[in-house]
């Protein structure tokens, strides 16, 4: 029979867990969101990933490897979700991901427009961009994560950024105060 875990031991484990994954949770959510383009699904993916991290915490000794482990786990959870539930990749209405501040400034309008453009990217282009910009992955790291060649990753990043930055150029340029 296993020994019950005491309150002190649990608290210590939770502190270690917070130290290990706490700083990564926000970016993990952002990456999950751009992977599945659904806020609630992203929350579920992150919750599931962190739950697994909790269970395997004692085996994750290398702090540097934690980030890559979390991303790999989340990607697999995302893939399982589609295998299990046979979710169809349909055009989804963009969930409201604004922070609800009611900001009607030009900056908010631009952000909203960029969100639409990012949503419109194919998965193949959107994911490497998210890995690079949100998680700071290098081309080599993206290639390893997505099981692609470096040249394929570079092509996708170039095309994604070109599509989006061309769109940014199209937006009317207004500066605050005039």
């Amino acid at each position: 029979m296993s020994k019950p875990v005491g309150a002190t031991e649990m608290s210590s484990k939770q502190h270690r867990f917070d130290a290990m994954v706490g700083a990564l949770t926000d970016d993990l959510f952002r990456y999950a969101y751009w992977l599945c383009r659904d806020k609630h699904l992203a929350e579920d993916l992150v919750q599931e990933t962190l739950l697994r991290a909790w269970r395997f915490m004692d085996n994750l000794r290398d702090v540097k490897a934690v980030k890559s482990w979390l991303i790999t786990t989340l990607r697999r959870e995302h893939a399982r979700l589609y295998e299990r539930k046979r979710l169809q990749r349909v055009e989804m209405e963009m969930n409201d991901i604004s922070d609800g501040a009611g900001d009607t400034s030009w900056a908010a309008a631009e952000i909203s427009e960029l969100h639409s453009r990012i949503h419109a990217l194919t998965d193949d282009y959107r994911e490497p961009l998210a890995l690079q910009v949100i998680l700071g992955y290098s081309v080599a790291e993206i290639a390893e994560t997505m099981d692609l060649s470096k040249s394929a990753v570079m092509t996708r990043l170039f095309r994604a950024r070109k599509q989006l930055l061309d769109a940014v150029e199209d937006l009317p340029e207004q500066r605050a105060g005039g």
Partner: protein, 240 residues
């Protein structure tokens, strides 16, 4: 480096410029202006990608959720106990009520997911020998009241795991570079043997026995069947 190559490289990875690219932007005014313009645009792109995060997301919620699952199981067990007592009082025969839970479709996926995420599956045998020493299969199994016999060879890692609330002795066998993974789950039940074909590159067998369930996974069918039969013949559960 010419301007076209520089601009293409800059659009691909503005965060990691190579020495040649840095030299070019210092020497070419047009590309320097281009780089400044793209950097500003890239900042706006980054701001768009960094969406707000729900306030309730975080490790604390994970901890609460994992504990909530265990409380649900205890409530279920209590309710089942009450039900049995009432039934016994009235002499009602209850059929099909066992001490364990049958695995549904979802739980089969849990094995695959566990293997995918458990770090021992991401390491080579030589790495595991050093790090996982001290927890032989016999030790792990003994702690869980399981006798695995003496004939399970080539075990490279063994540990006790929690699979979504179910305790399992989890171990890995490697022969000529091929790994078979097995889970021994005491006090669990299964109506009949089940096969899983090519789930994420693994074939699997779930084997019901008196006292527990044996689950084996391997990318090669022959090895899968051999290890499965070996375990079925040698594993003894303390509850049976």
């Amino acid at each position: 480096m010419n301007c076209l190559d520089f601009r293409r490289a800059y659009l691909t990875d503005p965060y990691n410029l190579e020495a040649e690219q840095v030299t070019h932007v210092r020497e070419c005014d047009a590309c320097a202006r281009y780089a400044n313009k793209q950097t500003a645009a890239d900042r706006r792109l980054e701001a768009a990608l960094r969406i707000p995060v729900p306030k309730e997301l975080g490790p604390n919620i994970i901890f609460e959720r994992s504990m909530r699952g265990r409380r649900s199981l205890r409530v279920f067990a209590m309710a089942a106990g009450v039900m049995l007592t009432v039934a016994a009082t009235f002499g009602i025969a209850l059929y099909g009520v066992g001490s364990g839970q049958d695995f549904g479709e979802e739980f089969k996926g849990e094995f695959i997911a566990h293997m995918a995420h458990d770090p021992i599956h991401m390491q080579s045998a030589s790495q595991l020998t050093g790090q996982q020493a001290g927890a032989s299969l016999q030790q792990v199994a003994l702690e869980m009241g399981i006798d695995v016999g003496a004939n399970i060879d080539n075990v490279i890692a063994a540990k006790r795991c929690d699979l979504d609330g179910h305790q399992a002795a989890h171990f890995v066998v490697e022969e000529e570079g091929v790994r078979a993974t097995a889970f021994l789950l005491p006090n669990e039940s299964l109506e009949q043997s089940e096969w899983m074909d090519n789930e994420s590159g693994q074939h699997g067998m779930l084997i019901p026995t008196k006292g527990g369930v044996i689950a084996v996974f391997c990318p090669e069918r022959q090895m899968l069947v051999r290890v499965g039969e070996q375990l079925q013949n040698s594993v003894k559960w303390s509850s049976s």
